[in-house]
């Protein structure tokens, strides 16, 4: 892994973000409206149930963070395909892992900044526990990030395997995982068969942990451990999947036709 290669792609990704209006909207506007909608909902529900609104708001922050970190990685790659610049980038000597890793790092930096931005806005609505317990917040965010990156790598692998018309997976696949990760409801809500599946979703333990933090002000370490194990398992599966898809795309000519 050559650091100057990673730095070069990160430089390019940040230039694209700052010069591309829709990327700025994705990064700042949508999180802002999400937090405002659920923040106002939390004000409305204060008289009915103190926790419900804040819980939904807190889950939404982690949901948005998971979405942003995965989506940002994939959209950076998709934009290389759509702009017709993928061949040029690869011809300058990036290995498949340098290419992917750089995207993960730049996505992590921008998503982490947006996470802080969302938490700051949420504090206006009284959601301050994540600043009061920074260690727990960092742990939950870190595990969310690992799960999201594993999904981002999987999405890239699938697009390389299936072709660029499957680019829509970048903004659809994660939503299915969120649904099954039981964001604002417990896993028990699902039929029994789905409950088993939900237990191995990358964000189930994160959302359960967030709900527990809001309800009791504490976090059971089991959520962190289970969440971390599952996220790492996803990551371990996603890397060879990406390696295999890239190699296959190189073999059957798909890679040279991605842009």
């Amino acid at each position: 892994m050559r650091w100057y290669k990673i730095k070069a792609l990160m430089f390019r990704d940040f230039k694209i973000i700052t010069r591309c209006k829709f990327r700025l909207v994705e990064l700042f506007y949508f999180p802002l409206t999400t937090i405002l909608i659920w923040g106002l909902f939390s004000i409305f529900t204060r008289n009915i149930s103190v926790e419900t609104g804040i819980m939904v708001l807190a889950v939404n922050i982690f949901w948005s963070f998971a979405h942003l970190s995965q989506f940002t990685t994939n959209i950076q790659i998709n934009q290389d395909f759509w702009s017709g610049s993928f061949r040029q980038v690869m011809a300058s000597g990036f290995t498949r892992f340098e290419y992917m890793f750089a995207r993960i790092v730049s996505s992590t930096v921008s998503s982490a900044a947006i996470m802080v931005y969302m938490l700051l806005i949420a504090s206006i609505f009284g959601l301050t526990i994540f600043f009061e317990q920074p260690g727990m917040t960092l742990a939950l965010s870190g595990i969310t990030l690992i799960g999201s990156m594993a999904l981002a790598i999987t999405v890239t692998a699938l697009i390389l395997f299936l072709g660029r018309e499957y680019a829509f997976l970048a903004w659809t696949l994660l939503e299915g995982f969120i649904l099954l990760s039981a964001p604002v409801y417990p896993v028990d809500v699902f039929p029994e068969a789905l409950q088993h599946l939900a237990q191995v979703m990358p964000f189930t333990n994160i959302f359960a942990g967030v709900r527990e933090m809001i309800s009791f002000g504490t976090l059971n370490p089991a959520f962190l451990v289970n969440g971390l194990v599952i996220a790492i398992a996803y990551l371990i599966i996603s890397i060879p999947l990406y390696h295999f898809s890239f190699k296959r795309a190189k073999g059957n000519g798909t890679l040279s036709r991605m842009d």
Binding site: F11, R12, Q79, Q88, A91
Partner: protein, 311 residues
């Protein structure tokens, strides 16, 4: 020493259940500083060959060595090369200086040298006034010059050009050809050029390979490649007055008014023909030789479905 050595490279692709050969046992070598043209019809395998060189396609068999290094196993070799294709694009929102800075960083050009090198290249290609403009806002000519400026950032020892003038208007295409020559002469860059524009290949290449159905059919200097398929050329001579038509026809001339046409074997000089005419009292007004062009060669190969030598 050879800059590029391609040995027995083969590649098959599957499309809609059918397998076809993109490259079949392709072998050639290119010397340092040479411009090597690869021509052939669409789908002949030219682009696949370049895609293998830039590691976007893996060959089924064979080996490519660039500057003595095996392309498939050396990660750094692409930093000694650069690649331009006719459809090269950069991200539409990036400005010219973003693009140059990104590639300068990707080629690990030290920060203190980066700015100076970018300035020099933009000036060399006459585009130093576009640095703050977005790629999408540039004219076709400015885009092509930016692409070439980017291609020279890492001072490549090898430049791969895949149909670099595809879709360009004649004036810009001519400018691009000039740039290729200029870069080759100034920096001693070895160039592999693919095109199906015959005149382009003929003008630029020191040697050529004709590729068809994934196979190299002919290879060598342009003239010698044409010689392999054409044994003769025509000489058209305009004389003041035809004195003895029968005698001229007996000597193998076709006579039409005051215009004489004779077919000569390639390599045979026209001086003998002219001196014979002058001895017989003819006053020559104009001489034109019609040698087969690369285009004639191309058409002949495709019509006859010629097999590679030794096949």
């Amino acid at each position: 020493m050879d800059a590029i050595k391609v040995s027995g490279v083969s590649k098959k692709f599957k499309e809609k259940g059918k397998t076809f050969w993109a490259l079949r046992d392709v072998s050639f070598s290119v010397k340092k500083g040479e411009i090597f043209g690869i021509l052939g019809p669409n789908g002949a395998g030219k682009t696949t060959l370049l895609n293998i060189m830039i590691k976007l396609v893996s060959p089924d068999s064979g080996r490519i060595e660039i500057l003595g290094k095996d392309v498939s196993s050396d990660n750094n070799i692409l930093e000694e090369m650069n690649f331009v294709s006719g459809d090269t694009k950069f991200h539409w929102v990036l400005r010219a200086d973003d693009i140059m800075n990104f590639y300068a960083m990707a080629y690990n050009i030290p920060k203190e040298k980066r700015k100076e090198r970018i300035e020099k290249l933009l000036t060399f290609f006459g585009i130093d006034d576009i640095r703050e403009r977005k790629f999408d806002d540039l004219s076709t000519g400015e885009k092509m010059r930016l692409i070439f400026a980017k291609a020279m950032l890492n001072r490549p020892k090898i430049l791969l050009l895949d149909e670099p003038t595809l879709g360009l208007d004649p004036a810009i295409a001519m400018r691009v050809r000039d740039e290729i020559k200029r870069v080759n002469r100034k920096f001693g860059t070895t160039v592999i050029l693919t095109s199906h524009y015959m005149n382009e290949i003929e003008q630029l290449s020191d040697r050529i390979a004709f590729i068809h159905d994934g196979r190299i059919i002919d290879m060598g200097k342009v003239e010698s490649v044409k010689l392999k398929r054409f044994g003769t050329y025509d000489v058209i001579i305009k004389v003041k007055k035809v004195l003895d038509k029968d005698s001229l026809e007996k000597q193998g001339f076709q006579v039409s008014g005051s215009v004489l046409k004779k077919r000569l074997a390639i390599g045979k000089s026209i001086s003998n023909v002219l001196s014979t005419l002058q001895k017989n009292g003819y006053e020559v007004l104009d001489i034109e030789t019609k040698k087969p062009t690369l285009e004639d060669y191309f058409v002949k190969i495709l019509k006859k479905g010629v097999k590679p030598e030794g096949a």
